[in-house]
Amino acid sequence: MNELLRLSALELGRKIQTGEVSAAEAARASLDKINGSELGAYITVSEDWAMTQAAAVQAKISEGALQSPLAGVPAAIKDNICTLDVKTTCASKILGDFHPPYNATAVDRMAQAGAVVLGKTNMDEFAMGSTSETSYYGPTRNPWNRGHVPGGSSGGSAAAVANGEAFYALGSDTGGSVRNPASFCGVTGMKPTYGTVSRYGLIAYASSLDQIGVLARTAEDCAGVLDTITGHDVRDSTSLNIPADGLLAGLTGDVRGLKIGLPAECFGDGLEKEVGDHVLAAAAVLKSLGAETETFSLPLTAYAVPAYYLIACAEASSNLSRFDGVKYGFRAEGCTDMADLHKKTRSQGFGREVQKRIMLGTFALSTGYYDAYYKKAQQARAAISGAYHAAFEKYDLIVCPVFPDTAPALGEALTDPLKTYLSDIYTVSVNLAGLPGISVPCGFDEKGLPIGTQIIGKALDDGRVLNAAHAYQQATDYHKAMPTEGGAQA
């Protein structure tokens, strides 16, 4: 592998600023890696566009007009985030050849900071899944073992970063879709506080839970990218109007005196021992660095998964209604009337998982069921937020697993969908409560598959979450490991 590809995004950014490496060289190296890859991390590789951006960014850097720490660094964007004139498919047949006439705000901000976008990454269709197997364009494979999934739904982004096919990537996290694939692929994945990164241009799955996040090699890289894309956006009414503080500048690596809580409910039944041991070991590292750790009870954990699926599917059933074959994307042939057009287009255009969630959500919102399902789920959501609020009165951070196990084999998760839904238990409550959470590589299981530890903070405490992850990465090397070409640890 080209040694350049082993650098972190910020390391590469520094070399580009000093002239040691050119933006074009970096882009070329990444594109070569992508072209030689069989992971299926990308849906669309925009080679010409990438090289054009690299040239333009390089010119500005050479003039001294662009000093952003990530200028010229090649990046990838999940294919549910709109990019002007590059097709955006959500990994669905129904969006087909959809070319958005606008950029997502996060993409605009990346462009201003001199990012070089390589292409659009694969994902579960409409971000619904935790394995990236439901993509209409075929599954993405785990770079550590091709027979396993990369996690999801931002599986393409995670696999690309892990495999040197991008230095960082944007993902989206509705119930764990950044943190889960980060843990499966051994990269760092940060889901910031709801409302800090504009959702404008992120094709909605569940509006009240969706948040754009970052997958990168290090917590530092995540902080650097978030500094670029965070901030109030007048086009997103749910975006918070608070000053975007310097997350990168705030990384001290000092966790002395921090109180870290370990929820007992997250280390009980259903958790693979190997995973639990590694997460506890990670907590011990933080303790050795001066933090205090303590086990406590986080109530209502059991309600998080049902509340999440009801709310997410309800919102999805409405958000995805616009894909009706009338305006853009796929339209079924041979329709007899309007209702037939809607029915055939949606039956043929959406995959099974998406259809299942639309039906679930439609049911939950129906007259006579609304109070029993949607309303009750919102009450559970409020109670879960309350439980977190109470926990953060006592603790600065919470540490727990990301997923009960390491990456399942391809096809395995689809055979037991209920078990797969329940496996989201450690990630979904963070979305329900709108909190920041990060997945940090903390080792490998005996099959050689990566394990992640999750660090959760209170709302707007993104800096503290990143700093704890950074401190951990200063003390450990798990994040530096990269898979070999064949899919084993190097």
Binding site: P100, P101, T238, D324, V326
Partner: protein
């Protein structure tokens, strides 16, 4: 059996904000298809709504003027249904916490005074339009209207006749025009009414099964439709049948309504809170600013016209009934014309001409300055009243200069006593028989002689001068 008709109304009104409710596209009516839209109002994937706060202000104005309580913590909800004119397949509306509740609208009919209760007013976005091309066997969508802000004013079922419904609609229209929050043009669809109607035996309190007629867009059609539908339901019941709860379409050409869809398999709109828009909190500052910004309304103006200008109650009521008329009146008075004189012009010629032409006061070309000039010419003795009325009517739609027109058409009043006396002498000579009748005591013929003189002077003479000279000659 005596029957009672029970009617409730849902009135949709497009607000006249410059931009749409959730994006910055213009709200202007018409335009080439799909030229007033953007990714947001066409519901492109990934786009998000941003509330135009002017819409909330306008809705609040309407609510305060219609005696509603304002909901200080108000939220939007999604109403989900598939239709090609609704690009997101949901309409952002309000179900759980509408902006205004519990209002009332006083109306006057031949039966007397009545207060119609308002259940709620909510804010929502309009949908686009489908254009069916019968020749090409195709239907096309025009999204220009998507996202135009609407308020829906929902009444309680308080109406018992078409007359009450029409009085209420006139009152709503007038109120919203005074507030300048809507142009209320029914023919352009900026005001449209859904009529919920049922019948029951007079004196009973239980409601009958109702039908709904949607998107009625003329007062005439509404009056006819109510009468037709009440009669139809009574006939159904009288024949032992049962009224079916359904939506009916009024066909203006056939003067009849037809069943569209049964409510028994009605759509489930699956309302839920709109997650893309935070709740709107109306603080005291905002509320008080809006309240203080309400203009003088019809009732207040009417009282003032009676008190300050000594107008009859009836005239004051007619003039203030339409904001455009009241504005016209006040501006003409402000230009120096006598209020009573201006009121007479409006009550007489102006309203008659509008009716003849079938146009509304707000659309007329006649300006206060031009009426003021005609009144001034009469006051100055340069134009007699009849000629003045002719000029007013002739130039009603034009912007030609009044003085130039009067001069060009040789309409200046003849006040020269010598010229008038000469004419009178000729008339008297030609009508010796009539003169004799007058002298024998049939003084009624005086008018005929005045008329003949006026005619000889082509209607331009000062009638008071004719009167004086004629009287002098005849009585001498």
């Amino acid at each position: 059996m005596n029957w009672e008709t029970v009617i409730g109304l849902e009135v949709h009104v497009e607000l006249s904000t410059k931009s749409k409710i959730f994006c910055s596209c213009i709200t202007a009516f018409g335009g080439d298809p799909n030229t007033h839209c953007c990714p947001v109002c066409t519901g492109m994937p990934g786009t998000l709504p941003v509330l135009n706060h002017q819409v909330v202000t306008y809705a609040m104005k309407a609510g305060i003027a219609l005696n509603c309580d304002i909901t200080r913590y108000t939220k939007f909800d999604r109403k989900n249904y598939f239709y090609p004119d609704l690009p997101k397949a949901y309409q952002v509306s309000q179900l759980y916490l509408p902006i205004c509740v519990n209002g009332s609208v006083p109306i006057e009919t031949a039966a007397g005074h009545k207060d119609i209760r308002i259940h709620e007013i909510h804010m929502e976005e309009d949908a686009g339009k489908l254009i069916h091309d019968a020749w090409a066997d195709a239907t096309k969508t025009d999204y220009n209207r998507c996202g135009v802000p609407l308020i829906e004013i929902v009444s309680e079922p308080d109406f018992r006749s078409a007359e009450e419904v029409l009085a209420y609609l006139e009152k709503l229209k007038s109120t919203l025009e005074y507030l300048d929050v809507s142009d209320c043009k029914m023919q352009e669809g900026s005001m449209r009414a859904d009529i919920n109607l049922s019948v029951r035996e007079a004196g009973t309190s239980e409601m009958g099964t109702r039908t709904e007629m949607k998107n009625m867009n003329s007062f005439k059609a509404i009056g006819r439709a109510i009468e037709y539908e009440a009669k139809r339901q009574i006939e159904v019941i009288a024949e032992g049948g049962r009224v079916i709860q359904e939506t009916r379409r009024w066909d203006e050409n056939k003067d009849a309504s037809f069943a569209m869809r049964s409510k028994e398999n009605a759509q489930d709109y699956r309302y839920f809170p709109e997650p893309d828009l935070p709740p709107v909190e109306i603080d005291d500052l905002w509320f008080n600013q809006v309240k203080a910004s309400l203009p003088e309304m019809a009732e207040q103006k009417r009282a003032r016209y009676v008190a300050d200008y000594a107008l009859p109650e009836y005239d004051a009521g007619m003039i203030t009934g339409q904001k455009a008329l009241a504005d016209f009146f006040e501006e003409t008075v402000a230009g120096g014309s006598a209020p009573k004189e201006v009121a007479n012009w409006i009550m007489g010629d102006l309203l008659r001409i509008l009716k003849d032409k079938g146009i509304e006061a707000r659309d007329m070309a006649m300006t206060p300055a031009r009426l003021g000039r005609i009144i001034a010419l009469i006051d100055e003795g340069k134009l007699n009243r009849n000629k003045g009325r002719e000029v007013f009517e002739a130039l009603f739609d034009s912007d030609a200069d009044i003085d130039a027109y009067v001069k060009e058409h040789d309409l200046i009043q003849i006040s020269d006593e010598g010229a008038i006396a000469t004419s009178i002498a000729e008339i008297l000579a030609e009508n010796q028989k009539t003169v004799d009748e007058y002298k024998s005591g049939k003084t009624k013929v005086f008018g005929f002689l005045v008329g003949q003189t006026m005619k000889a002077l082509k209607g331009k003479a000062d009638p008071s001068v004719i009167n004086a000279i004629l009287k002098e000659l005849l009585d001498s």
